[in-house]
Symmetry: C2
DNA sequence: ATCGATACTGCATTCGAATGCAAATGTCAC
DNA sequence: GTGACATTTGCATTCGAATGCAGTATCGAT
């Protein structure tokens, strides 16, 4: 004995085939109003226990699922976060992406992915982000100050991953302490002639690590450091090793600002320059990416605490989504020195 | 001299601060109807040139952007495709992901990413996919027959990437010809004692490659092949190499069904078993992933034509989105044999 | 001047769910 | 039985853009 139905749409008598069921369909079949159905799927909405059960039963029977688009349109909450990542620059990228994606899923947030290639039109990507009304954005790609400013204008919370901007919160791995540990590790092993494989001058982390390494070396009185710039790729590390060798002759140690370049450098040193690692040359990297720990490399590096960093990035973003006035914290994480066999270690005094 | 406005919403006199502009705002300021604004942003909609220009000018001035949610709700087209990928199983995954993402962006389609870990609840992911009314799905993850069937029920086009299902179109790299080439390459070099590092029995591509390799070997009269199963990870390749060595003693060649396992095997052979590659042992893989071409490995492998495969997957999906009756093609691509220094090559007869 | 064809333009409705408000119902005390 | 109060429930509106339909303007041909 269905109660009287007064909803406009409830008057249709049958459900067309092939259309996906809506809350009105559930309402009609269960003999309740559309609002009741809606309230069944909202947390702490006011709805009687008996009615709730009936509605849920009907919903399950006809396979009803709330339409995320309609929900988002009316509630102004999409439960979608955009992830902006530059593809390929870094070995470390797939890991970060997978972790961020997992952390977001845990919180029932969907991921709209923007994977940038070199020629990507970042402003076009931002345009899409605005159109889709995402709840927030995590960016591990370079954004100009003007671009970062747009986020504030559009009131879209932004968290930067291994980047900085004065106006936005960020999560980073401390380059200074990381490079200092690496340099100390190398100095302790008695190395004095250093080479540095840095990144493109416009890369934030690249420059930060470069400067941190140079500073740590300078502090120890090592001022004369051969440097060659790469672009974070394997090949560029390979080429940079050759360049260093040509320019500076015999070196004790090479510091690369990323694992992938360090790996390229190791291959160049061993295979082309006929150097044994670590006997003739020590090589260190940065990131602690998977391949760095493969047997052929066993790279001494600084492992970024990806799990903690992604946790923090997501937590910060969610906080700012929930409370727009939350402060724009900049969190710095300390990486762990992974000592591998790609660098000599200090001989303990017996 | 604005024309008379009769639109309901146009009567509000001022635009509240901080709200993002809607088509009504543009309409009000430009003195036209909301429909006119809408038509300005639709291709081949009927709208006068002068009016179009005026509207676009106003829209640009106030920074109007169509709301993708509202567009999707009414037009039943989200321009979003869900990408389902299992994270981490494969070195090759980040490349496929980046390529698919690039191909979709070129066609002005957004990507909703679902990166599956081992414990992921696939049915939960599908549930989210239905709720978000995506236009289509590309899956490079394992789906049960029942799950594939749901796509038909929900009328969501699906294209499988390196997987198969009778009911769905797919894009794959031919394991049979690939493994045959590898086997022929190894046989030509005079190898007779073979080891095989296969994948988990429930992996489709893994089994396909395994069976193809065994068949090619059997055809050449090699029936006795030592086999050890891995899980596609570096470590499992490493362990499998040890297992093969223990079980079968000296081998001429090891065929791994993925590059990552081949790399793990190479490291185990060289570093633990003290074998020279390719003098004492040839190793081949499959995929042609980036690290396979690093100097330390220079792996003989079959390179999947990622670019062509992702192109095809996206083209097939778009076709099926546009025309639901398009046939469910299964496209097979042939990989290219990359001959590296990880496997001996036939000595040419002088 | 009239008719028809063609190109614009606006009105009103639609997509599907959420929610403020008011009405209805239920509960309990006295 | 009455009043005070809390809990359910439904109505009507809202989010923002697309679109069928009908109406208007323009122009050329007759």
């Amino acid at each position: 004995m269905p109660k009287p139905q007064t909803n406009k749409k409830s008057t249709s008598t049958t459900m067309e085939q092939g259309r996906r069921p809506t809350s009105y369909d559930v309402a009609r079949i269960a003999g309740v109003s559309q609002s009741a159905v809606s309230r069944c799927f909202a947390p702490n909405a006011s709805i009687g226990a008996a009615k709730r059960e009936l509605i849920l039963k009907v919903a399950a029977e006809i396979g009803y699922r709330p339409n995320a688009l309609a929900q988002a349109l009316i509630s102004k909450r999409t439960n979608i976060v955009a992830l902006v990542i530059s593809a390929r620059t870094n070995l470390y990228y797939p890991e970060v992406l997978a972790e961020l994606s997992a952390r977001l899923n845990e919180r029932d947030i969907r991921v709209l992915l923007f994977s940038l290639s070199e020629e990507s039109d970042v402003d076009g990507v931002l345009d899409q982000i605005w159109r889709h009304s995402v709840d927030g954005v995590i960016s591990a790609a370079r954004l100009s100050a003007a671009q970062v400013a747009q986020f504030a204008e559009h009131r879209v919370p932004l968290v930067l991953y291994n980047r900085v901007a004065t106006a936005a919160p960020s999560v980073r791995c401390d380059s200074v302490s990381g490079e200092r540990h690496l340099v100390e590790h190398l100095l302790a092993a008695g190395h004095r002639r250093f080479g540095l494989i840095s990144g493109p001058a416009d890369s934030y982390v690249g420059e930060e690590r470069r400067n941190a390494a140079l500073a740590a070396l300078a502090q120890a009185g090592v001022g004369d450091v051969a440097e060659s710039r790469g672009d974070f790729s394997y090949d560029s590390g390979h080429r940079a090793m050759h360049a260093l060798h040509q320019a500076a002759g015999k070196l004790d140690a090479v510091i690369a600002v990323s694992d992938l370049m360090a790996i390229g450098a190791m291959d160049a040193a061993r295979r082309d320059l006929d150097l044994s690692i670590p006997e003739d040359l020590s090589v260190v990297g940065f990131d602690g990416a998977g391949p760095a720990r493969w047997g052929s490399y066993d790279l001494t590096s600084v492992r970024q605490p990806v799990r903690r960093m992604t946790d923090a990035a997501v937590a910060m973003l969610v906080e700012r989504i929930e409370d727009a006035t939350a402060p724009a914290e900049q969190r710095l994480f300390t990486g762990e020195l992974l000592s591998g066999s790609s660098a000599r270690i200090a001989v303990p005094v017996v």
